[in-house]
């Protein structure tokens, strides 16, 4: 039985919402904020949201989309092209690889995976910055890891509602 065109379009648009949300967050992440801590938070939001969808429903955050989002972020920030794209696909790949271990586990296990992914992201970032320049900042890395874990709690609560309301489970 063929589905009506409107239903197909509706499903396609809904499935594109997470990618669109991350793109919006990438743009917001480079805007000038009144305080430095707000700029730090907005900079890490795309990472948190990508990790969330990679954990909950990878089909709405395909690797190609993650790669392209990373490229857009690199272009807007002036990074070497591929810099953040590489970090994001490594972190998203890490989270996806842990999904099968989370089948029977609770929310704390998910948070543990996200924290590990944040550490993995920062270690890779640190290595890449060290190769491309000479000044990776250890304290900055620790701060960003803490920020990702802290942001995951409210973001996952918010996006869980989006997940239920907008997207059908895979």
């Amino acid at each position: 039985m063929t589905r009506p065109l409107t239903q197909i379009l509706d499903e396609s648009v809904r499935r594109f919402v997470p990618v669109f949300v991350v793109l919006v967050l990438v743009v917001v992440g480079i805007l000038r904020m009144p305080y430095a801590f707000i700029a730090d938070i907005t900079m890490m939001l795309p990472v948190v949201v990508i990790l969330f969808w990679s954990l909950r429903q990878p089909s709405v955050m395909p690797m190609v989309a993650v790669f392209l989002i990373g490229l857009v972020d690199d272009a807007l920030r002036g990074n070497p092209l591929g810099f953040n794209a590489l970090l994001l696909i490594l972190a998203a790949g890490f989270v996806r690889s842990q999904r099968r271990h989370l089948a029977e586990r609770g929310w704390s296990a998910q948070l543990g995976v996200i924290a590990s992914a944040a550490v993995f992201y920062e270690v890779c970032r640190w290595a890449l910055v060290g190769i491309l320049s000479t000044s990776p900042d250890f304290l900055d890395a620790i701060f960003r890891i803490t920020l990702v874990v802290a942001l995951f709690v409210p973001i996952s609560w918010l996006l869980s509602r989006v997940h239920r309301g907008l997207l059908k489970p895979a």
């Binding site: 904020m33 002036g78 092209l81 590489l86 696909i89």
Partner: protein, 292 residues
């Protein structure tokens, strides 16, 4: 026939799909690494690609940045409400100081013009100024830069100096049609020829992604001290001479550092200077001397 062609396409499509799913991750990692290497090897191509993406997002950035700046203004207004009286007193004192300074400045300017007239010296700073608004400030990341809403269409070119009322902000490194990127003086790739205003000693301000760039290539007999003003020397041909850069801090330590005059959070508008140095001898006269 249709059934056969359907099954033939399925025979090819399914393995390709399985193969692509299995190797998508590795393929994307390889592509990303290749792109990083290409960006480092051919920065011109990478700059052009980045400029095109920035051009595409400029309308969105312009539209979204306005309400964010308005909201930031409200936040600052609320936050500063409690200190209005103190700020008022400080501003009154500053106005008095500036009134006195303006009288002295007018006297010095008149004296300067008179002396230049006597010497027949040409003004050595000539150029066009382009005012631009700061669209975005992605300086929390790897590269210290800011995006401005003016590009090639308004005559912006790579290498032009970017200043604001406080001092030197940076220089243009990427230009799109409607937007451009300014590399800040704090970026690790930034090098500026400067001199210490008090001693006229030449040096280089080198960014290292920290808030206070280093002052390097000082002579062994340097007498630099904390509080010395650093201005551009103009010897690099990029920045006009005399632009305020910052003030020396940590002069006695192993690495002398400069605190920029610019307050990065408050850079809303900048001026791009299309600097055309005239020199003491016109180009045609120099060429004639060379031919003889």
């Amino acid at each position: 026939m249709r059934h056969q062609s359907g099954s033939v396409s399925q025979r090819f499509a399914r393995p390709i799909k399985q193969w692509s799913q299995r190797f998508a991750f590795l393929g994307l990692v390889a592509i990303a690494i290749a792109m990083i290497a290409l960006s480092e090897a051919n920065s011109t191509l990478a700059s052009r690609l980045r400029a095109q993406v920035v051009d595409a997002f400029t309308p969105v950035l312009g539209a979204v940045s306005q309400p964010v700046e308005t909201a930031a203004g409200w936040v600052n207004a609320v936050a500063s409400a409690s200190s209005l009286r103190d700020e008022n007193n400080k501003l009154r004192a500053e106005i008095e100081r500036l009134r006195t300074a303006r009288i002295e400045e007018a006297r010095l300017s008149a004296e300067n013009q008179s002396l230049r007239g006597l010497l027949g010296a040409k003004p050595h700073v000539k150029g066009r100024h382009i005012v631009a608004r700061v669209l975005a400030d992605p300086s929390r990341g790897f590269v210290r830069s800011m995006l401005i809403d003016t590009g090639r269409a308004n005559g912006v070119r790579r290498g032009l100096a970017v200043v604001n009322t406080d001092g030197l902000v940076g220089r243009i490194t990427e230009v799109g049609n409607s937007a451009a990127r300014a590399l800040l003086i704090t970026d690790i790739n930034s090098r500026i020829a400067v001199r210490i205003e008090r001693t006229r000693e030449r040096a280089i301000v080198a960014g290292d992604n920290s808030p206070s760039p280093k002052l390097i290539y000082l002579s062994n007999e340097t007498t630099v001290r904390n509080g010395d003003r650093i201005v551009t020397s103009g010897h690099d041909g990029v920045f006009p001479p005399g632009l305020p850069v910052g003030v020396v801090i940590a002069a006695g330590s192993e690495t002398v550092r400069v605190r920029p005059f610019v307050t990065w959070r408050r850079v809303d508008f900048v001026r791009i200077i299309d600097f055309k140095p005239t020199g003491l001898v016109p180009q045609s006269a120099a060429a004639r001397k060379g031919v003889r």
